[in-house]
């Protein structure tokens, strides 16, 4: 009955840009299996007619007035940047034909 979760761990690790050793993968595959078992048990509960819970504490968001405040001074913005190019952050080259996020 034991399902091998090593493939899932590898997939998630890749998405999260994490490099895991073989031992770490095995440990996490076991932990993931336990977590999913617990989730499966919860799913057995009868939730008919119960609203999904998005937040544990159900109070509305506190809104902010649409007013402009001070931004961070540029030297502070770039203070921890590993690399910079004038006032830009510099990152490894992204191919033009590559992923553009959205």
């Amino acid at each position: 009955m034991a399902i091998d979760f090593r493939k899932d761990v590898e997939h998630v690790a890749k998405l999260a840009r994490l490099e895991l050793t073989k031992t770490e993968k095995e440990t996490m595959a076991g932990q993931l299996s336990d977590i999913l078992d617990t989730a499966r048990r919860i799913q057995e509960l009868d939730t008919e007619g119960i609203e999904p819970t998005s937040h544990v504490i159900d109070f509305p968001a506190t809104m902010r007035e649409d007013e402009v405040g001070a931004s961070l001074p540029l030297n502070r913005v770039l203070q921890n940047a590993p690399k910079r190019d004038n006032d830009f952050f510099r990152v490894p080259r992204i191919a033009k034909s590559g992923n553009d996020g959205q």
């Binding site: 998405l15 937040h55 968001a61 902010r64 649409d66 001070a70 510099r90």
Partner: protein
């Protein structure tokens, strides 16, 4: 084979707020990189997002203007991906419960009948930063000024059927959002961006074919062109018995073709979950109804009213309501000078020509509604002739002086003085004995030519009606 074209559009629109969605950095385009950033929009650990109330209200307005059902409780989720334009490693977006859903918008289909385009969802999200691909230097450069700017994403159901319908949908969407006052929707400046999903299926069949996604179109025309190109490309593939590969394509404006960006294997797995740092957005039913009631009049309703209340022909009404800025200008003129058809003629004619010639926008041009009203009043009061008024408009538009100042400084007052005009009239009659003969012989139309000669002599300043009267009196007398 005959194919049916299936198109769905995803449109991102920047909301017109003062500050960003989750922090108080300015929502303004500036040249200097990274000056409008702070720990929140830079994704520094521990920085807490705080929701901008105005952004939520504008998203609500947009949803209502698009006839959406409103979620009284909605919330923000995290869409996880690694890309340098998103410093947190995730984008805050409404994935599970969008603020608006099941909306619609009316367009004309290719045959000219009314068609309802179904809108699946309208949701709020934050914009990403901008990558600048340095040509000489190593690596890419990132500017986070745009990161955290509030957006709404508007997604249609796949029920557009042609590139033309898609363009008309975008035009209508832009008009509605401009009228609602939530965005300026300038595609060339990036405040409206559009991605298109497109697939073909044999006519008469039900199952969807595999689709491709088109990106990087920077005008409505480019959206239409890229869809035409893609239809042709997919047709050729299907006709040759091959299958269309699901992929993301990039429209290359210079080459007028689509090129592959990424295949299906690289498809995303965003692992969305509700953002624990942001509490739910709760809208009272009353607030929603108030916002619905406060929605401004949209283009179609306005055009109908211009016909009904002002007696304007449908053509005028259509042109004047094409943009909210133009309609606002027209109405501001009317508030001072209440003659709809005259105002309409001058706004659509001389003013529009001036704007085009000078490459200016109506909302920022120096010739405001009060100047237009002043000019038209001067014509009505016979202070200047219509011909001179055109000159005055151009001068006032370019130099920023009021029409009255231009008229006074340049001595353009209409000549309505009998004595002064009589002299000119006599001169013209003496110089044109043939015309006088013709007139006496019954060809009374020749009077127009004689009036023209007097206008020429006076450089357009003569009162044409008076000139007409004087000419007739002199010839007959």
């Amino acid at each position: 084979m005959e194919y049916e074209v299936i198109i769905g559009l995803e449109v991102h629109v920047e909301l017109h707020t003062e500050s960003k969605l989750f922090c108080s950095c300015p929502n303004r385009f500036v040249q200097e990189p990274n000056i409008n950033t702070c720990p929140v929009c830079l994704g520094f650990p521990g920085a807490m997002p705080q929701m901008n109330e105005e952004a939520v209200e504008q998203a609500l307005k947009a949803s209502l203007a698009l006839n959406c059902e409103i979620a009284l409780t909605s919330y923000f989720d995290r869409k996880n991906y690694f890309y340098p334009d998103m410093p947190k490693g995730y984008q805050i977006s409404q994935y599970f419960v969008p603020i608006g859903s099941r909306g619609s918008l009316l367009i004309e289909d290719d045959l000219g009948s009314e068609k309802q385009v179904r809108i699946g969802r309208v949701h709020m999200e934050e914009d990403a930063g901008k990558l600048v691909h340095s040509i000489s230097g190593e690596g890419s450069m990132v500017d986070y000024n745009r990161a955290g700017v509030p957006l709404v994403e508007i997604v249609t159901e796949p029920n557009l059927r042609s590139p033309g319908e898609s363009r008309r949908y975008l035009e209508q969407l832009k008009s509605i959002l401009q009228y609602a006052g939530v965005s300026d929707c300038k595609m060339e400046e990036g405040s409206l961006r559009c991605d298109a999903n497109i697939s073909l299926r044999p006519a008469g069949t039900e199952t969807f074919g595999s689709k491709t996604e088109l990106k990087n179109m920077n005008s409505f025309k480019a959206v239409e062109k890229s869809l035409e190109y893609e239809i042709d490309r997919q047709k050729k593939i299907l006709d040759s018995g091959q299958e269309v590969i699901s992929q993301t394509l990039r429209w290359e404006e210079d080459r007028q073709e689509t090129i592959m960006m990424r295949g299906k294997l690289e498809a995303h797995d965003y692992r969305c979950f509700t953002d624990p740092e942001l509490a739910p957005i709760k809208l009272g039913a009353e607030k929603v109804e108030e916002a619905r009631a406060a929605l401004p009049e949209m283009a179609d309703a306005k055009a109908a009213r211009y016909g009904r209340d002002y007696g304007l022909p449908p053509y005028d009404a259509g042109v004047l309501t094409a943009s909210r800025a133009l309609a606002d200008y027209f109405e501001a003129c009317l508030a001072i000078y209440d003659n709809p058809k005259v105002v309409s003629n001058w706004v659509m004619g001389e003013l529009t020509a001036c704007l085009n010639e000078e490459g200016q926008e109506i909302e920022t041009c120096a010739f405001g509604p009060e100047k237009m009203a002043e000019l038209l009043k001067m014509i009505e009061e016979q202070v200047i002739s219509g011909k001179i008024a055109k000159e005055v408009l151009v001068k006032s538009f370019r130099g920023g002086k009021t029409p009255r100042q231009v008229v006074e400084e340049e001595g353009l007052l209409q000549i309505s003085d009998h004595g002064e005009l009589e002299a000119v009239v006599e001169k013209v009659l003496a110089e044109n004995p043939d015309s006088v003969e013709k007139y006496r012989a019954g060809a009374t139309k020749v009077i127009g030519f004689l009036v023209g000669q007097v206008m020429k002599e006076t450089k357009g300043k003569a009162n044409p009606q008076l000139v007409n009267e004087l000419l007739v009196k002199k010839i007959d007398g």
